[in-house]
Amino acid sequence: MIKVRDLHKTFKVHEKQAGIKGSLKSLFARKWREVNALDGVSLTIEPGELVGLVGSNGAGKTTLTKILSGVIYPTSGEVSVLGYVPWERKIAFRQQMSLVMGQKNQLWWDLPAADCFLLLKEVYEIPDQAYNQRLAEISELLEVKDLLSIQVRRLSLGERMKMELIAALLHHPKVVFLDEPTIGLDITAQRSVRRFLREYQTRYKPMMILTSHYMQDIAELCKRVVVIRKGKIVYDGALANLRTRYENTRLVVATLKNGVSPFDHVGDTAVEFNPENREVRAHVSKHSIPAFINALFSAHEVDDLSVEGEDISTVIERVMRHGP
């Protein structure tokens, strides 16, 4: 279980004026600014949950992940991960957790992945049989069995990320922090990583905290999302509820029976009308849909009608940018 209470993290950053004058001035006197990366974050994550942590750049997601994994200290607040205070970095804690950072290589760049895994086998004290079985299983799921003897630096970005995932999961951690594991990967590799994470989580049920800028990752993998904005949690709940609560508009698409003169409004709502296929499209506020449909049916003969919910990515992005 992960429990976080009133977590704060403040960084002091140096502000330098642009230009050579600013550079020279900064040699003697520096101006510092305090940035509240986390501002009173509280949350609880139950065993076996896969939680999506989303937010714009600089929102505080990676800072939260680093504190939860024990890489950095908080300024104040309480955190318990599996019963440990992460930044005390007890060996028993580190044996039960993993951190995968999509932007950082944690394997030994100059060694084949197989050698890296052997080292990790010893570090995590994984028995031979369990190691062989897990390596075979995970490398098969990720389709990289034939690449294990190739130097890590010679692998493609996607292949390397898959190796990072193997390294992170060989010891069957109880909690896995995934910080942008699909960043920079092509669509196929992203899909493959997502498929693997879903499969692994279903089989072994570790707690997983997934940070990603790709909303597709969150939408496909996480039932629960935590949205962080300017260091504060602005939404923590089911992904499905996020849509219900924050969806602003829905897309109404109607096909008219007969050709009509071009028009750009139905009632008070602006619409796009395509005379060629007689299609009317309008983004209509959720509460105005019945009135819009009534107005549409009163003014035109409608052949076909559909109402589509807003894409979940759009909803999340809106909450990330503007708050709930």
Binding site: F11, I91, K104, D115, L119, E122, V123
Partner: protein
């Protein structure tokens, strides 16, 4: 208790073998960095001293004959290489670019890991030194006034082990300043230059003015090359050996304690940001 001690040692050994695999992963780099560079350094030092002896017309300088100087430099240069391990700059770079993170998440201590990566180069240097000594003997340049004894050689290797630890802890101590200043490459580089001159790796300490020697004797620098080299060659008198060992051990313990304290404080400031 036994397990607590055994685990870091086992981890160091595992990292040691991984680092050895890494060092031998690139053949050209291995031969250039670990073999050729040491040979070139040694040949330059020997050529300089041969010229100095020829120009001065002296048969002895600072109590060293030309052959004695060649023998001392051979041991001091390779001992200097051995104590240097992975060299300076690595730790401060890891703090600077955030790659220190990986040592913080794996269940092993940063010290076990870093020592494991430090030691393979030390062993390579020791092996090279033994080959170089064999070469000097075979070519007939062995000074008649020096004869190696097994006891002094073993004592020298034990001192060298502590010298490696001392260098390692000093580097961690100094480079932990990167937690505060981010980039301290220039400071690391200055330390490296100071070590080359003050450790006796380039010039035996007998050639320094006596007041400089008095200061150096209580500093950690001579223990990084000069002291273990003298012990290995058996050219140190017993009194100086007995006086020097506690100083070496004292500096090692002090550097270890200092590095633990400063790194522990520095980790509170670590942000893990970088490329």
């Amino acid at each position: 208790m036994g397990l607590k001690i055994a685990a870091p040692l086992r981890h160091s050994w595992l990292v040691f073998s991984a680092e050895t695999k890494r060092l031998t992963a690139y053949r050209a780099q291995f031969w250039f960095e670990l073999v050729l560079s040491s040979i070139v350094e040694l040949l330059i030092a020997l050529a300089v001293w041969r010229t100095v002896f020829a120009a001065s017309g002296a048969t002895q300088i600072g109590g060293y004959t030309l052959e004695g100087m060649m023998l001392y430099l051979t041991v001091a240069i390779f001992f200097g290489q051995a104590t240097k391990g992975t060299g300076v700059g690595t730790f401060q770079r890891e703090v600077y670019d955030g790659s220190l993170t990986k040592y913080l998440i794996y269940p092993l201590s940063v010290y076990s890991y870093k020592l494991g990566t430090f030691m393979p180069r030390s062993l390579f240097a020791l092996g090279q030194m033994l080959l170089a000594l064999a070469g000097i003997w075979l070519l007939g340049y062995w000074p008649p006034e020096t004869s190696l004894s097994f006891e002094w050689m073993m004592a020298g290797i034990v001192c060298l082990f502590f010298s490696c630890l001392l260098y390692f802890f000093l580097i961690i101590l100094l480079e932990s300043l990167a937690f505060w200043a981010d980039n301290i490459w220039a400071l690391s580089y200055a330390l490296q230059i100071a070590i080359v001159f003050l450790s006796g790796k380039a010039v035996p300490l007998e050639l320094f003015p006596s007041w400089v020697r008095s200061v150096l004797e209580i500093s950690p620098f001579p223990f990084l090359a000069y002291f273990p080299a003298q012990v290995f060659l058996g050219t140190i008198d017993y009194h100086n050996f007995v006086a020097g060992v506690p100083v070496l051990l004292g500096w090692t313990v002090a550097a270890y304690a200092g590095s633990r304290i400063i790194m522990s404080r520095g980790l509170h400031r670590y942000t893990g940001v970088g490329q």
